[in-house]
Symmetry: C2
Subunit: 536 residues, 2 copies
Amino acid sequence: MRLWRALALLLLAVCGAAVQATEQATEQWGIHEIELKGPADGNPFVDVQLGARFSDGAQTVEVDGFYDGDGVYRVRFMPPRPGRWTWVTHSNRWPLTNKQGEFTATPPRPGNHGPVGVRHGHHFGHADGTPYKPVGTTMYSWGHRGAALEEQTLKTLAASPFNKVRMLVFPQTAGTDKHPPPLWPYEASSGTPPRNWDYARFNPAFFRHLEQRVGQLRDLGIEADLILYHPYDDKHEWGFDSMTREQDDRYARYLVARLAAYRNVWWSLANEFDFIRTKTDADWAHLGQLLQRIDPYNHLRSIHNGKRIYNQAEGWITHVSMQHGMAAAEASRAVLFREAWRKPVVFDELKYEGKHDRRWAQLTGRQMVHAFWSTTIAGGYGGHSEFIPDADGLIWLAQGVKLRGESPPRLAFLRQILDMAPAEGIDPIDTFEDVFIAGQPGRYYLVYFGQQAPAEWLPKLYLTGLRDGQRFKAEVIDTWAMTVTPVKEPLQFSPQGRYHFVARNAIKLPGRLGIALRLTALDTPAGSGARPALDD
Amino acid sequence: MRLWRALALLLLAVCGAAVQATEQATEQWGIHEIELKGPADGNPFVDVQLGARFSDGAQTVEVDGFYDGDGVYRVRFMPPRPGRWTWVTHSNRWPLTNKQGEFTATPPRPGNHGPVGVRHGHHFGHADGTPYKPVGTTMYSWGHRGAALEEQTLKTLAASPFNKVRMLVFPQTAGTDKHPPPLWPYEASSGTPPRNWDYARFNPAFFRHLEQRVGQLRDLGIEADLILYHPYDDKHEWGFDSMTREQDDRYARYLVARLAAYRNVWWSLANEFDFIRTKTDADWAHLGQLLQRIDPYNHLRSIHNGKRIYNQAEGWITHVSMQHGMAAAEASRAVLFREAWRKPVVFDELKYEGKHDRRWAQLTGRQMVHAFWSTTIAGGYGGHSEFIPDADGLIWLAQGVKLRGESPPRLAFLRQILDMAPAEGIDPIDTFEDVFIAGQPGRYYLVYFGQQAPAEWLPKLYLTGLRDGQRFKAEVIDTWAMTVTPVKEPLQFSPQGRYHFVARNAIKLPGRLGIALRLTALDTPAGSGARPALDD
């Protein structure tokens, strides 16, 4: 009789799984979530395997599910294309396996451009083709501070220029924020947190909260550059930087299962990886390659350095996330990292605006804006944060909450300039000499004079893409005053020497710091006549 | 009977090979050469395999032999240690196999410091521990111009500061030298050279000549940075850049068999590799890894770029051989490549001194000297050449012969400074801010003011390695006038702020371009009290 019963159960499981007929519609690049009831005994985080296969007939995507506590399991899927998708689960437990269903992925709603990937070698774009030009900021612990402050941070972000946020998954004890978080990522095996973590038992509430914040960033059009590990556990009392490889892998898999369906997620393996002395470069490569393998959507992956730069040539790294104390201060420096690795370069930490006694947070607003313009001209991207405590000691770098520096309005202005620039991105035009001109050859140029304050400039462009007689509209940009002043007469260019085209007359400039020129072609370059690049 | 004959021959070969009793002595890191007679029929370059195993009882080295024409085969060995070495050959041909012998490797003679390898992460040293600080130059075709010019070049080199020469193995048609060479590297399969090469038949005379020149460089204390491929075959009429992988491999193996025993050989896979459009990055990696595998002495390996920088992180690359148009002009730029790859960086082409109409050869002597000092302060090394035609159109970059620029005496002066600097090399002290101070923390500093011309400087050093009250001797260096002027009073340093030590009084400076300071510790730092590096 036990045999018959087992057979019946087997048939039920294999053949009789009811197709979930709930007709849910999910927008393309939205989240389609399946909720299942399953075992709550033992340790579901390690005992239960759950996954699902989604297919629209042409494309099949395998995703892992996860345990969300209280006997609830979830599988999340980000449909990469609109249309009819069917799914079927697989699990090592009967109540979770062979569940089936289908749904319609509808076209994306306005503002949903899909996940961001690398475009044109050194730049970024959304899956729908919309260029994405990062103007990022960092608030490590903004999500570990409780509802009131966190909601205020979201309001501030909504009015800010920032379209990317670097944020820690794990809370920090040290450095900029000494407040224990309201939620912990793991359950304590005994005693009171923060002690004796059971690294085999996640705290679902912690991750639900994280997801809520990531989703809110998404709804603001902001990418969430999630930092998996950090060295800011001064006395190593919390220990999230000291897990075993098995525990690290479980953490990465749990993050991917929960969060990869959020289209705005990026994976930043670490902040200041080299200060986390409990992991080797081989450990980081292992983790990066694991993410590359298990993330069904291939979200962007990077690793941010302290003093020692990681080998950014490794294949799992999609773009360079750079801390550097002085490279971003000059385009001719910043461009060298782009040349070294031929990947997008984001100077996520180019020092911070502030008056800290530490030199990594002593930039004036002007210096911060200059660094952003320098990295732009270098064909890369800057990253903002500030260390300007308010009366309560809150600082943007740690808690978020409110911006107090002088740079954000100017970064908003820069973002407007970037948004109007060619979709292919801004590339340095000629890196053999000092770099101060970038754009797209023959079509669009940004000339940035930076720390110089010339009273005039005789327009001189490297020849690639230019035609004899070609005309350009010129506008003088004051990067600090946030003004764009058209030059009355169009510029007309003709060849000079082996390498250049020049205009006839010099342009008058304000003689101030932080002045740029924007040149936009008035003639569409014909197919012929445009100059090719030279080897020498 | 044929069986008996074969057996007798076998026994003779296996057991009865006469030990070569010729008591040759070869100095350590010299060349021990074995000459053997063998078959001259067929194509010995491809039909005959020959190698030998050298052993001193503790260490065994396998080397390949090579065919030198006229039925003569040679095996060359560079003994890595003094003492008694025995050897035995192996071949697929009876007359060449199982030959045995022994010799004594004597201690190296004065001036022989052994091959150069990487030391202290970013620097170089000879096998005997002597530091090697490259002050290199480039003369692509100096070895393809006939005896009279080549002997003159050697005389010029003997009186020059240069201790490394970049030179092409294959002749060039184009660019800087249009003279066909007296010797060709391959035999023509039909017709008159340069046509219809038989890439399976080397011309031994060509390689004997190359070896002669490499040996003469060695005797002058000059490293030979041999360039295996180049793109200077404008009409692709000679074709050495268009061989098959099999032909490329045979070429690399022949070079190693003939030349690896020369202690002063470096392997530079290519000049301007990216302009050689007949090879992919995978081809270069293959060749580099092949050299790494087959060179018994692990000579230095690099690949030099045109516009696109090769992935210098690849494991077979021992050091960065860089062409860059503007990185070497500022230490704060040049240092970034060092940080990117954590290998020695040699700016082998930082533009040339000259008045060419091409911008890669328009440096003034002052600019060349400035670039060398900048790369030095960046913890790297510069590379010289010049494009200043004489009455016959000869230029150093192509033919060598005579130096005409203003930089060489100043580079000799720099080399003196380098030779007196710490054996560990000159490292930038603090790369978080603009880089203009380098040396060894707490012991030795070079401060280079470059394009600034300050009238005084208040000594301020990053804290690492310094002790409160420590005293330094100071000397003002004029890098152009080649003078060293002691500052009368020693400097005494005390801490200031979180990051620095300062002296009490400013040092008066000449207010000219190209001024440096040398600070040498007068107090030996005690074990305790010296400041450790900070993370922030």
